[in-house]
């Protein structure tokens, strides 16, 4: 089959690779009908997540048709012919983490748990196409994928909703939603979202749905800010204005009640010398992540507020404003999305027309043009916001 693979830093390559096969009894093979490129894929391509290897099949946002099931798959839950959206964290459904609905922390699905434990203190779940640290599972930017625990995670789509309306249930819609949910939003809340990428856009929409009074979008790409503005959010361009002053202005000096970091470890900074400091440290591996947004969110948030982090961090950060966090009673909440928790309720919201996930799609390309898709998305060319690939 054809599959988009990691080919070293800053390089992806669509290659011919073997078709997947059943390796565990509860696996299914899915023929992929739609798949997408995510901001998390950029962290892999840019070389910020260790343990990627040449030839790793990328992609963790995919859906399609079940073409084969292992002998252990419960036929009441999944059969050949079913149309499914596959959540990006692989979850067993039986461990303590799964019982607590902490699916992205599943204790059983990462065969490389020992490595993850060394880096993170405790292991994390397996994730499709997302390095060997999260298990070494081939991803979904391909014609077919093997899906472990196929009778646990995948969501059956029984209505005639188009792929594009449900594809993002695999990751970014639940992720944005979880970002907002972690904010415990009250009707009087002003919510500021850093990053107007796909995840940020869905975090903004979710904050609105959950009842926020006002939602602010912070980014530097005018077209992304315009997209947020069209959806009813207030744009702030961090290259044009001082973010802190603007946020104070927009909140009568209080600061946003809730702040969402939807940028993560590759944040850029309006202030050149701070950016240089973190870039240099990152380059010499003294610091693995660039935490501008995390710092700014903590400093901006009103006392007693919540800083919700859905942008990905991989390792260590420097100059974490622990004093602001502690002395001003801030709550920090975060996580890789527990996608399985949100798929059904969000499908309901899509069916009822409360959310339109298609509003962020700017590019549709054949899988064979994945490399171009990555270029467009990474370099923000051609007003690219979200690329859907068709195998």
């Amino acid at each position: 089959m054809r599959a988009n693979t990691w080919a070293g830093r800053n390089k992806v390559e669509v290659r011919d690779v073997p078709d997947p096969r059943i390796l565990n009894r509860r696996d299914a093979i899915v023929r992929i009908t739609s798949t997408a490129i995510c901001g998390s894929d950029l962290h892999l391509v840019d070389g910020y997540v260790p343990t990627m290897q040449d030839g790793d099949v990328m992609g963790h946002e995919f859906m399609g048709e079940v073409v084969e099931v292992g002998p252990g798959v419960d036929p009441d839950r999944l059969r050949v012919g079913d149309r499914v959206v596959v959540p990006f964290p692989i979850a067993c459904g039986a461990c303590g983490a799964c019982a607590a609905e902490l699916y992205s922390c599943c204790e059983n699905t990462n065969p490389n748990a020992g490595i993850a434990e060394k880096m993170f203190g405790h292991p994390v779940a397996g994730i499709f196409g997302y390095s060997h640290l999260t298990g070494g599972f081939a991803g979904g930017q391909a014609q077919y994928a093997r899906v472990p625990f196929a009778d646990v995670g995948p969501l059956k789509i029984e209505s005639d909703l188009a792929d594009e309306q449900v594809l993002f249930l695999s990751d970014i819609l639940p992720t944005g939603y979880m970002g907002a949910e972690m904010c415990d939003i009250q009707p009087s809340d002003v919510v500021a979202v850093w990053g107007a990428g796909p995840v940020g856009q869905f975090a903004m929409d979710s904050a609105r749905i959950l009842g926020a009074a006002k939602v602010i979008a912070i980014d530097k790409e005018p077209y992304r800010l315009q997209m947020a503005e069209r959806a009813g959010h207030i744009p702030v361009n961090f290259e044009e204005v001082d973010v802190r002053s603007r946020l104070l202005e927009l909140t009568g000096g209080r600061g946003p009640d809730k702040c969402i970091d939807a940028v993560g470890l590759e944040a850029t900074h309006g202030s050149a010398h701070i950016a240089t400091y973190d870039r240099v440290k990152q380059a010499v591996r003294a610091e693995s992540d660039r935490p501008h947004v995390l710092r700014q969110a903590i400093m901006s948030c009103r006392s007693g507020g919540v800083v919700s982090v859905i942008g990905v961090y991989g390792g260590l950060v420097d100059k974490f404003p622990a004093g602001a966090w502690m002395n001003r009673s801030l709550t920090l909440r975060t996580g890789q999305c527990h996608v399985q928790r949100y798929m059904k309720p969000l499908l309901g919201r899509i069916e009822r027309g409360e959310i339109d996930p298609t509003r962020i799609i700017t590019h549709r390309l054949p899988l064979d043009e994945a490399e171009r898709g990555f270029e467009l998305f990474k370099n923000k060319q051609d007003h690219c916001e979200k690329v859907v690939l068709k195998p």
């Binding site: 030839g55 039986a94 070494g136 599972f137 081939a138």
Partner: protein, 180 residues
């Protein structure tokens, strides 16, 4: 050498105990074991995997057991690698899970067998037992050892990096199996 490890399994203690007490189950999750055969009520014959030392076999006996709580065993006769172990099962505070606490003792000899065993355990010997218990948990909670494209061989997964890429196996590679 003494190794200790512990894990929590979301199954009641009698079930976890029963699985372990059927010693023939041990090779499904313990990487260094090829086979365990029950030879009597309390006696058994153990065969190690090649990386642990070729043709290393021994007899063992259960010294002490308390159903649902504890099993203690040791090798008998002149084993190449005299060893002993204890496993305790304790109800976890959540009321549904079982804490498994394992202690293994190896009397590592000199010579080629000792070298093979030392090499098998490597620089972080406890890591092997940690991984064994992770697989025990997988087997009891999900039914089998979880495989990925990067680590497709279940308990024979070699933990060293780099692994094979996260890419499906070719028919030839699959046929060759773990020794490829």
């Amino acid at each position: 050498m003494e190794l200790t490890a512990t894990t929590t399994i979301r199954k009641p203690a009698p079930e976890v105990y029963a699985f372990w007490r059927d010693l023939e189950n041990l090779p499904t999750f313990m990487a260094h074991l090829e086979e365990v055969r029950t030879t009597g009520d309390r006696t058994s014959h153990w065969v190690a995997n090649a990386p642990f030392g070729k043709d290393v076999q021994w007899d063992a006996e259960i010294l002490d057991e308390a159903p649902g709580e504890k099993i203690r065993w040791r090798s008998t006769g002149d084993a190449d690698v005299p060893n002993a172990g204890t496993v305790r099962f304790m109800p976890a505070p959540d009321g549904v899970s079982t804490e498994v606490h394992v202690v293994l003792l190896y009397d590592i000899p000199g010579g080629p067998v000792g070298k093979a065993v030392a090499k098998y355990f490597g620089e972080e010997p406890h890591q092997q037992l940690d991984d064994d218990l992770r697989r025990l948990k997988q087997v009891l909670e999900t039914g089998e050892v979880v495989r990925s494209d990067g680590a497709p061989w279940g308990k024979r997964a070699r933990k060293e990096f780099p692994q094979r890429p996260a890419q499906p196996l070719s028919d030839a590679e699959f046929a060759k199996g773990a020794e490829a």
